[in-house]
Subunit: 431 residues, 2 copies
Amino acid sequence: MALGAPTGANAQPQPFSAQATDPTLMGWMQGFPPPADMLVTQPDSNYFSFPKLRWSVCHLREFLPTEEISRGIGAPVPLNYPSPAQFADLRHEIDAVTFMPQNSDEEMTWEESLYANYTDGILIQHKGKVVYERYFGCLEEDGKHAIMSMTKSFTGLLAEILVVEGALDDTARVADIIPEIGDSAFASATVRQVMDMTTGVKYSEDYSDPDADIWLYSAAASPLPKPEGYEGPDGYWEYLQQVEPEGKHGEEFHYKTINSDMLGWIISRVSGKSVTELTAERLWRRMGVEQDAYQTVDGKGVPFAGGGITAGLRDLGRLGQLMLNGGELNDERLFPADVVENIRAGGDRSKFGTGFPTFGPGSYTSQWWVFHNDHGAYAARGVHGQTIYVDPTAEMVLVRLASYPRAQNGFIDPTSLPAYQAVAEFLMKRE
Amino acid sequence: MALGAPTGANAQPQPFSAQATDPTLMGWMQGFPPPADMLVTQPDSNYFSFPKLRWSVCHLREFLPTEEISRGIGAPVPLNYPSPAQFADLRHEIDAVTFMPQNSDEEMTWEESLYANYTDGILIQHKGKVVYERYFGCLEEDGKHAIMSMTKSFTGLLAEILVVEGALDDTARVADIIPEIGDSAFASATVRQVMDMTTGVKYSEDYSDPDADIWLYSAAASPLPKPEGYEGPDGYWEYLQQVEPEGKHGEEFHYKTINSDMLGWIISRVSGKSVTELTAERLWRRMGVEQDAYQTVDGKGVPFAGGGITAGLRDLGRLGQLMLNGGELNDERLFPADVVENIRAGGDRSKFGTGFPTFGPGSYTSQWWVFHNDHGAYAARGVHGQTIYVDPTAEMVLVRLASYPRAQNGFIDPTSLPAYQAVAEFLMKRE
């Protein structure tokens, strides 16, 4: 059986199944002190490798410096729930929903998919009510989970808000906003190309290649003191200043994290605020969230706009609901409806390419993934299985946090995307 | 004029005065990116040296890994305030309160003392109502501030709760609870001696001595990877296992931080919970606080029980009120009244010595400072001017957070302790 292959909820746990790698069951960081082989530490071990990953996704701040994304100090606005009896009924009905995984001829139940995907937290809202909510692994209702590249969608949403409000010109070139970008390949790209990741910039994330750009990016980004003799860029922004061109701007979508950090720099320069401050001011402090979120930083205190956020499951549900509602939440308008309209409309589909076969033919705009399917769904997505999935037709918001053994969503989509569609159809029929 | 000497609120700001070193005015970490000489970073600079200190006390998590002390996800319980008009009146009356600093023949006003002490936040509650609240420097009402050694009083309070509840025997020897303490000098000390810092353990904090124990402690505690060839202890607890004796247990009070970390280990072993978890469970989640707090950790995830907490001003006010109320807050009993009784009663005064002339003849018990004065006051205290000061006679709780240039409270007490007494007397007379 392959690592991470689907495992039924009631099947015998397999060696590397979600059930067998539950971090509490495995004993990571338990005891005072924990046994040496149960330590998960930043200095000594690869804390983000599976199965340690299943513990670490809830504990990033214990390894790294972070900045707070403040909720403020007021009372949270509770989510809406059906009665406990209705909620229990819904749980059982949804658990039994079946779907056909991509490239499979074996039906799977919704509940089986949760284990197949190493789900840590799952929340479904329908017409503004929570209809399903479960926690697994390291996550609890008052805990937080790394959201990985869903961070990009926060950065992109902030940028889209600034564009619609007129504070950011998405036709401007990066060099006009940040002159010190110098002769970086980013200099001649437009803000929109950065937002939609159609820049022509050299950046490879092939982890098996020791010369891949990701390694220099990681070295630049590390908040630890640089090694003796290190002469490379220090921090995200110095890295961005020396990016080389590859291809032409505007021709094709290339999913490269450096665009998100470039965008973070742009919106900070334009707004005079860090992305953490801006997220707090425009979103977190106004959404009635229950928990502060946080974001990892480089050695100069710059938040990782491409992947650094950790947040609570329900608060991510609030963000999805805000998107579904076109910028309104709790009877307050947080930003113009055009912001969501622009994202929902999607980017240029002809530029999307064929690099994401499990996602299908879609587009990427303002750092959101748009499915262009019958339901008009769009999503924030992060490695190891993170998603905020908004289905406007079904009036459904779904958040899943996970710690799938492998990073790429190509492994996770086959048992996820058809499941979301099936649940959406179930909810539409049930009412 | 000496560094940090008293400076009147209305006097011309002196070069190193509180007014002149306001971190916003100085420009630390402003801009995207900040100018190179305005960076305050962990890898490159001494971020805890004055005047950078004035920025860093509000931003520790941006330098270091931390663990959350969760407030939970419910609504905070608001503090009680007088009407805005009454509050404004009180502000002006309290600002004008005068007192005579220790060893001085020049009267000072309360408001002048705030600047003299590089105050970042000050909150006074009287009979359960907030009568005075101001923010300076890096702190705002929804911000947080390092509380330094007031952390010890959190650790000591948890220990005292466990003792009163019968979960921890304070007559037990450390080795009976933590056998792997081995032949450390702590092995033969009682829990009570650790709680009251009357252990006979070798530990010097003389920062001018390159062989002082503090340097090895810092190296052990650092969450950064250990330097090549480092063979010393890794983490707080490994350090404690190799502490040598100095003097006899139980004979005299010696203020040594390692006792607090020893106590943190003891209560974690006994309760099966980290001090962050225990603080959350016994205090933070039940006090109606507004903000999560957090605590720095070593490279193995062990929270710094001797000094690692950062928290909000009002939430520290809630803790002071909980103490004043003998363990009750918001109509709920959080722990037995004996816990506060034991702390208020103080430790053995004959063992206090003469090492704290500005504090006067007092005692230290369960990691709280007891004044044994007419008002029966006691306090949590931390370097650079942090205090929670509880005056049972005046029914007053006072919290001050500060970033005084020098660490030792001996420099700060002369313009603080007489000011607290004067405000207490003012409040008693005013009613």
